[in-house]
């Protein structure tokens, strides 16, 4: 079983993101980067499927500058077999990313593509669905599982996706509950937070990852025009919410809610 995963380099979501004074981009001083958290979940799921299957290959793809190799090495330290960097000098939009990935998929012919449901920088949440459409494949977005992340199944590192008889069974988190779909392979799946806890890279894993191959491609190699369909004109900060007051006790709180805020 061959599985292809996307790994995007993003700003660490736990740090404060601020806009440049001229609104051209975010302030990059002192910013740390990491793999998109949803993509780590995708890689973890791919590795579990490969392990459960007993054989296979996990290929990670990143679209970005040379520095994105760091995030792919992280995925390879987790256990992915090799990387493909589609080297771009500027940020590409979701649509261009999907068309680049579609060309990589045509070359690699994986059985399954697993991507994060969204990248935590752009928050668009479109690439997986666009990719599925460009490939003419079925899709299952927001993959999770019935069991919680504290469950025995999770501790036993069981895959949440079930691959059998040329299909993948996916439990999806949607508004109102959980939906179960069977998607014929090859298919595109995007990950929700509750699919798994990604593993940490081990020291031997990190050493091994350094020797794993990374192929470099360009949009021109793939014959894809990356002119964006969605252009960012400018960035601004949302209105700050002012801190209110601390109340000493419940009686004061109730009084304030009734007479000042008038919400109860």
């Amino acid at each position: 079983m061959k599985i292809l995963c996307g790994v995007k380099r993003v700003e660490d979501p736990d740090q404060k993101i601020k806009v440049n004074p001229d609104g051209s981009w975010i302030a990059l001083d002192g910013i740390n980067y990491k793999p998109n958290p949803y993509d780590e979940i995708a890689v973890e799921e791919a590795l579990r499927l490969k392990e459960a299957h007993g054989s296979g290959e996990v290929v990670v793809v990143s679209i970005g500058g040379e520095e994105s190799v760091t995030e792919m090495r992280h995925a390879m330290a987790m256990g992915a077999d090799r990387g493909i960097l589609v080297k771009v000098s500027e940020r590409v939009d979701s649509d261009a990313a999907a068309r680049l990935l579609a060309k990589v998929v045509e070359r690699e012919k994986p059985d399954l593509v697993i991507l994060g449901r969204q990248a935590v920088d752009s928050d668009q949440g479109q690439t997986g669905q666009l990719l599925a459409e460009y490939l003419g494949w079925g899709q299952a977005t927001f993959a999770a599982k019935f069991e919680s992340l504290e469950s025995e199944e999770e501790k036993a590192k069981k895959p949440g996706l079930q691959v059998q008889d040329g299909k993948v069974r996916v439990i999806r988190e949607i508004d109102g509950g959980l939906e179960v779909l069977d998607v014929e392979l090859p298919a595109v799946v995007t990950t929700e937070l509750r699919l798994n806890h990604p593993r940490y890279a081990s020291l031997p894993g990190i050493m091994k990852a350094k020797k794993k191959p990374v192929e470099e491609l360009t949009p021109a190699d793939l014959g894809v025009d990356v002119t964006p369909k969605v252009k960012i004109r400018k960035l601004s900060s949302p209105p700050e919410r002012k801190a209110g007051i601390k109340v000493p006790d419940v009686a004061t709180l109730v009084e304030k809610l009734r007479n000042e805020a008038k919400v109860i």
């Binding site: 700003e11 979501p13 404060k16 993101i17 939009d93 979701s94 649509d95 969204q118 935590v120 920088d121 752009s122 668009q124 949440g125 479109q126 690439t127 997986g128 669905q129 599925a132 459409e133 494949w137 079925g138 899709q139 299952a140 919680s148 992340l149 299909k167 949607i174 508004d175 109102g176 509950g177 959980l178 939906e179 179960v180 779909l181 069977d182 998607v183 014929e184 937070l193 964006p228 369909k229 969605v230 252009k231 960012i232 004109r233 960035l235 601004s236 949302p238 919410r241 801190a243 209110g244 601390k246 109340v247 006790d249 419940v250 709180l253 109730v254 809610l257 805020a261 919400v263 109860i264």
Partner: protein, 318 residues
């Protein structure tokens, strides 16, 4: 003329209220572009959903067919594409619920359109419309331009008021396009049933986080006393304490109630992204330095297991 196609979301044969908020966004676009808004309802046994939408003053196309009973993106995207072409839509708009997030990117690909997700407002001038949308979990608002002739959007319901009923529009049926081979198969839907108001529609939301240590009974008791919806942080959902459907935040639901009561919630950026539009925020947390106090209108430092019963008593003894 730039017409707008509004794709309705529905569940259990009823129109989701969020679609009426999206309708308001669609109207705003149409009034600037000089076009007309059309509605689209896809599903099986959805005649009443179509009528309800039409009562809000829109002409509605309805594709009512067993073959599109379940919202499979592969099939629905073809139906939306056909409807968009039939009404010469320049804009395809829907509320940013899980159905539309799943289906609309495929529609965009089929129409060669650029797409903006989670739009919260419009900029630009006249018919040249730009779209404002959050990035980096709402730490940044981007103003984006879509360069393609057709544009696809999901809009955040909390940032638009609900469209009001008007003169009923016509409802006409849309014949399904050739759906081709569908490679996705519906197996089951395990719906979470609740007596409480839906999270995204409630006037009051009471949410619990890690501070509940898995015991949501104070959260639920307070919610029930106030007729409120129950929400939760990612940590609480990850731990399996409450169903995923209750998650408020960057990847969960965005809520903007009149009153949001955060119990044992630290206030991580990802959670705040989903609730900072609330009118009044109350935070109750043991840790006086919890970041949630920086955005709360009223903060009370204390153990929720002691404070909530007291609060319940105080609310009863009016």
């Amino acid at each position: 003329m730039s017409n707008v196609l509004l794709v309705a979301e529905h569940l259990n044969q009823s129109l989701k209220k969020s679609s009426l908020h999206a309708l308001e966004a669609a109207r705003q676009i149409a009034s600037r572009s000089g076009g007309k808004v059309f509605g689209l309802v896809v599903g099986k046994g959805v005649g009443e959903v179509a009528n309800e939408l039409a009562r809000h003053g829109v002409e509605v196309l309805v594709a009512d067919d067993a073959r599109v009973e379940h919202p499979l993106a592969e099939a629905w995207s073809k139906v939306v594409e056909k409807a968009a072409k039939e009404v010469s839509a320049t804009y395809v708009v829907a509320a940013s619920g899980s159905q539309s997030k799943d289906v609309l990117p495929r529609v965009a690909a089929r129409l060669g359109a650029g797409m903006a997700s989670d739009v919260i407002g419009f900029g630009g001038e006249g018919a040249e419309i730009t779209f404002k949308r959050p990035m980096w979990a709402g730490s940044v608002i981007a103003e984006v331009e879509i360069t393609t002739p057709v544009k696809v959007l999901t809009v955040r319901p909390t940032d638009f008021s609900a469209a009001q009923p008007g003169e009923a529009g016509q409802v006409r049926s849309l014949e399904l396009p050739d759906l081709g081979t569908i490679r996705t198969h519906f197996v089951e839907f395990r719906q979470v049933k609740s007596e409480r108001p839906p999270l995204t529609e409630a006037r009051i939301v009471v949410s619990g986080g890690r501070g509940t240590r898995g015991d949501f009974s104070p959260v639920e008791a307070l919610a029930d006393q106030l007729g409120a919806a129950v929400g939760a942080t990612r940590a609480a959902v990850d731990a399996g304490w409450v169903p995923n459907d209750l998650q408020v935040g960057q990847t969960g639901k965005t809520v903007a109630p009149d009153l949001y009561i955060a119990l044992g919630i630290s206030g991580a950026i990802q959670h705040v992204a989903g609730m900072k539009g609330s009118k009044v925020i109350v935070a109750i947390n043991k840790d006086p330095d919890a970041p949630i106090f920086q955005i709360a209108d009223y903060g009370l430092v204390g153990d929720l297991f002691q404070v909530v019963p007291e609060l319940q008593k105080a609310l009863t003894g009016k």
